[in-house]
């Protein structure tokens, strides 16, 4: 299979977004809705009610065969062998230089069949990486164009979609999935996952049926005040939870140990660069990803310098925003280990001023 970069792609729901008045922006090679009514409104709707995101740009790879598990154990950092059918796992693909190729979800369909969900921006890189390390008898297929993906997120998600399927969504455990008929469409994967911290589901739908499911969800969710939500709200929601975004908080040069992803890095098995990461875990790392809140007015942004109380450079901001839920200016960034403890006073260099901040442990918002 050959994959090349071409012109801007569209998701199967592109025309739906345009008709809803969404502001469309280029993102990871796709034309994506960044906002509909406004980021604060959409953010609040997800926190309090229910919002629907089109995240069809995400990539899906199917890994099949009797050695599918062996391949996944080799390329991912988490222990895939603990999964049972219908269970989902957050993980990452470590590279050989101490960094991260991508973060991803691993779905166990059965012992010989796994679905990987990867970031759109890394799709081609991931595909090449996993194939390069497939010295096993595992068969990979890229199903990214065959699946549309909707994230229905928020405390009212069960009410919003419960009537659309016979699957028992009410009793689905977090990070599990089932396959069934949804809104009359067979073979939809309903997954109790999401990246907002608001609870809810992600729906993997055959692309041709995306608009049908979208419309059914919007109609069924109208009673709970469902709204479409864009990438901007998705970013503020994930950041309030302290969830890493690839390209901001993690990348090819940040290790999972530095990024606080030790909990998905399991040395009970062998995987790419395991020895070096194990040494990091045992000996400690020079810098760590931390969360922080500004104590005076200002907004931290990616790339801003982080300084200590004497003004010495100690790191860099990787994500930042005004938290729509708390009204506080929040961010994440790498700092030298000596400054990584919670409640450590730090400063963020914003234009010509240093704005004081305090290291805090995410989440920045608790429901």
């Amino acid at each position: 299979m050959e994959m090349t970069s071409t012109d801007m792609k569209q998701t199967p729901l592109h025309d739906v977004h345009v008709s809803l008045g969404a502001k469309m922006v280029p993102f990871a090679g796709f034309e994506m809705p960044v906002q509909y009514t406004g980021v604060k409104d959409e953010h609040q709707c997800v926190r309090e009610k229910c919002g629907v995101f089109d995240v069809s740009h995400m990539g899906e790879f199917l890994v099949c065969g009797s050695q599918a598990l062996d391949l996944l154990q080799r390329v991912t950092s988490n222990d895939v062998s603990v999964l049972i059918d219908g269970k989902v796992q957050y993980s990452c693909l470590p590279n050989e230089d101490g960094g991260i190729v991508d973060d991803l979800l691993v779905y166990r369909i059965n012992e010989n069949e796994y679905l990987l969900v990867v970031n759109a921006s890394n799709l081609e890189k991931d595909w090449n990486w996993i194939n390069k390390h497939n010295s096993f008898d595992a068969e990979l297929s890229n199903l990214s164009d065959e699946y549309a993906l909707l994230a229905v997120q928020g405390p009212k998600s069960i009410e919003a979609i419960g009537s659309l399927t016979d699957l028992d969504v009410e009793n689905m455990e977090y990070y599990t999935f089932q396959r069934g008929t949804f809104a009359g469409v067979p073979n939809v994967i309903v997954s109790a996952t999401g990246y907002t911290g608001a609870g809810g589901f992600e729906l993997y739908i055959p692309s041709s049926q995306a608009a049908k499911v979208w419309n059914a969800v919007m109609e069924s969710g109208a009673a709970v005040g469902i709204q479409p939500a864009g990438l901007a709200a998705r970013d503020t929601l994930r950041l309030e939870m302290g969830f890493c975004l690839y390209g901001n908080d993690i990348n090819d040069t940040t290790s999972p140990i530095e990024a606080g992803l030790g909990w998905i890095t399991k040395f009970t098995k062998d995987f790419i660069n395991a020895d070096a990461l194990k040494a990091q875990k045992e000996n400690g790392v020079a810098r760590k990803l931390v969360g922080f809140e500004l104590t005076e007015r200002g907004i931290p942004r990616q790339g801003y310098e982080i300084v200590d109380e004497e003004g010495n450079s100690i790191g860099e901001v990787t994500s930042g925003t005004m938290s729509p839920s708390t009204g506080k200016a929040i961010g994440m960034g790498y700092v030298l280990k000596a400054h990584a403890k919670k409640e450590t006073p730090i400063g963020i260099q914003i234009r010509n001023k240093v704005i004081p901040a305090t290291v805090v442990r995410p989440p920045f918002y608790k429901a």
Binding site: V34, Q35, G38, V39, K40, A232, D235, T236, R297, G298, I299, R301, T321, M322, P324, R351
Partner: protein
Amino acid sequence: MNIPKELRYTKDHEWIRVEGDVAIIGITDFAQGELGDIVFVEIETEGEELETEEVFGTVEAVKTVSDLFMPVAGEVTAVNEDLADNPADVNEDPYGKGWMIKVKFSDASEIEGLMDAAAYEALVG
């Protein structure tokens, strides 16, 4: 999109309302729409003499930060203090309650050189 006829405009999406020798300055309806929800307007140049195109402040939206440029040279004589507590005024009423600064301009011919509503509409339309 709202582009009042009586105002002047810049390519940086600021509007200018002239009252005598004072220019009242804000950002346009188009600009606030592009920025999205505005959460913080920072202007600390009150009392300063600034050149045309010099940065007089910044506006922070949830997603992005953007510099504010002087449409004309002059002294910043007033800053809209209400925006400190109500930055969303810029979104809701960009040409009214969302005004940002007043400038005592030094050269009236600079005002004449700014875009009128028709020219600005052509730029963003």
